[in-house]
Symmetry: C2
Subunit: 338 residues, 2 copies
């Protein structure tokens, strides 16, 4: 299936300097895709010329006069900048010019604009942020990672349906297992909301594994891990912080003296393989799940490689037809589980 992706070229810490070459890299690897580069025309055209792609047959440019700043207030981005590259990219999805869009811009603004422009899917009250994390067994999808601070049990159930549908669409798994993040395995553990979510999940028809604990995320116990956005966001950021700390410690030990530096030289291929394996860039791209359109949020500091990965994620989701699948699953559940 041919997919068209709208790319907010101005978002992120680096803007067109990273987003444009990343889009071109992606097109080199993928024949069945077209990109619409959205943002300040001159900046984008300059980057395209620099990469000898001014006349690329699968690239078009859509001018947008404004840029949402990384630290901009949501209200200002939503109401004050109707012609921002972010908003125009989301609009292209809304009007079906694009099948998906990708932005490395301000998460809060992207979520607010996407909700406002695209609206949520039928029976979904709140969109959630879903991302892929590496595990001992492969990887797992976790949501919500920060869109919803206070969640009801019903919201958590909806996240489970969305996450499970996403995994079956992009991983070809018939019935992905779903874990409910909690502080113990027993059904009686956790807050009232989480316990009630457990009850809803048990009778949802989903492949519900039961409660999982923090360490189950990286053990890869389930295909999907569901939690509220506060817990998800803190857990994800703590993980980033811990990984960075361990990386720093490892480097410091190898740089301690002459002998350890020599050891580092010998161990370099191994350390490189290790780093490649846990490279956060290969996990870039969080999906704003539950909207009437596919919106992928790239990390703000994404480089060329990671931004390309986020584009690939958007295309994968468009091909997987996840939006229809979520709607079908929700309506099936509402009819059969009451």
């Amino acid at each position: 299936m041919h997919v068209t992706v709208a790319i907010d070229c101005m978002g992120g810490d680096h803007g067109p300097h990273v987003t444009v070459p990343a889009a071109l890299d992606y097109l080199r690897r993928e024949d069945e895709a077209t990109v619409v580069l959205v943002g300040l025309e001159d900046a984008i055209a300059g980057e395209l010329r620099k990469h000898n792609a001014a006349a690329h047959p699968r690239v078009s440019v859509r001018h947008a006069t404004e840029v949402v700043a990384m630290d901009e207030q949501i209200a200002s981005a939503l109401r004050g900048k109707k012609d921002s590259s972010m908003r125009v990219a989301v609009n292209l999805v809304k009007e079906a010019t694009a099948d998906a869009c990708v932005s490395a811009g301000n998460t809060g603004a992207l979520m607010a604009i996407s909700r406002f422009v695209l609206k949520t899917l039928t029976d979904i009250e709140r969109p959630a942020i879903c991302s892929v994390l590496p595990t001992l067994k492969g990887h797992t999808f976790m949501l919500d990672l920060g869109a919803n601070v206070d969640c009801t049990a019903e919201h958590l159930l909806q996240f489970a349906v969305m996450g499970s549908t996403l995994v079956s669409a992009v991983e070809n798994k018939e019935r992905p297992s779903v874990g409910l993040l909690n502080i113990g395995e027993e059904d009686i553990k956790g807050s009232e909301i989480v316990r009630h979510a457990g009850e809803l999940l048990r009778s949802s028809g989903l492949n519900f594994y039961g409660n999982v604990e923090g360490d189950d995320i990286y053990k890869g116990t389930t295909d999907v891990v569901v939690c509220d956005g506060f817990v998800g966001n803190v857990t994800l950021k703590a993980s980033e912080g811990l990984a960075r700390m361990l990386g720093t410690y490892l480097r410091e030990e190898f740089e301690r003296g002459l002998l350890t530096r020599a050891a580092a030289l010998v161990a370099r291929p191994v350390l490189t393989a290790f780093k490649r394996r846990v490279d956060p860039r290969s996990y870039n791209g969080a999906t704003l799940l539950g909207l009437r359109g596919i919106v992928v949020k790239s990390h703000g500091s994404a480089d060329r490689v990671s931004f390309r990965v986020a584009i690939a994620r958007a295309v994968e989701e468009a091909r997987g037809g996840i939006l229809n699948r979520i709607t079908e699953r929700m309506s099936f559940m509402q009819e059969h589980v009451a």
Copy 2:
């Protein structure tokens, strides 16, 4: 100051086999301490003989006929086993025979028994579990790590007072900085409870840094990180899971082939230094903070080294006089901040 520690020798995955030699190791390093070994007399005496310490002048044995199982229901441990080693150890603190106690047993049971036997300090509604985590700058104290699933803003404030007092007592820091775990730095971020806790903290007289995010834990942004027990527990366990995953990956890369195994030999001293630096054993020992007595919970799987570390933590806290300090701080706050 001479300190007497009651040790629940039967708790944990290994029982007296680990707890008794760990206590003896501790006494070898510390002259100003005495231990009371609590549990099945025969088992303890056997271990003491094995280590030629049957007549150790700073060791006494207190027989307790029952043992709380690691997976025992809290109600059964609390009501059904009045002569468990765990309960007797806590009782020794209550009756001031011991200045502190340590157990590697079931966390839920230890908290329930400690609350029941010791009661909470004046003005403290809920005890919290507090532990030390390594950071890029040294280490940080985080609480609550799982005792309280639902917390009010006032509870979070009390955790902040307790954590801050603990750090000033054991680290000799005049005014430790306190961070409130949240999903953004701005005051308006987070749930209503967390935002309200932020307000209380700003007018508490504590050295309140403001909101911190997940990655700030391991950056070492503040001396104390405060959160509810659900978030704290999930974050801690996710960190354990991630560290284990990264360790496994690193090992796998070094074991991949002949060349990588040779590199591992060369790099071994560096890898050993790295492992020592992040060794979770040196961070063993969570404090049940807010009780009228010092209770330290060791990891259930603790080995001899880590259990010794937990004993040292208990002694440190007894010497720091943290209970009086918490009570003073709370009453000062209630008088001066209203």
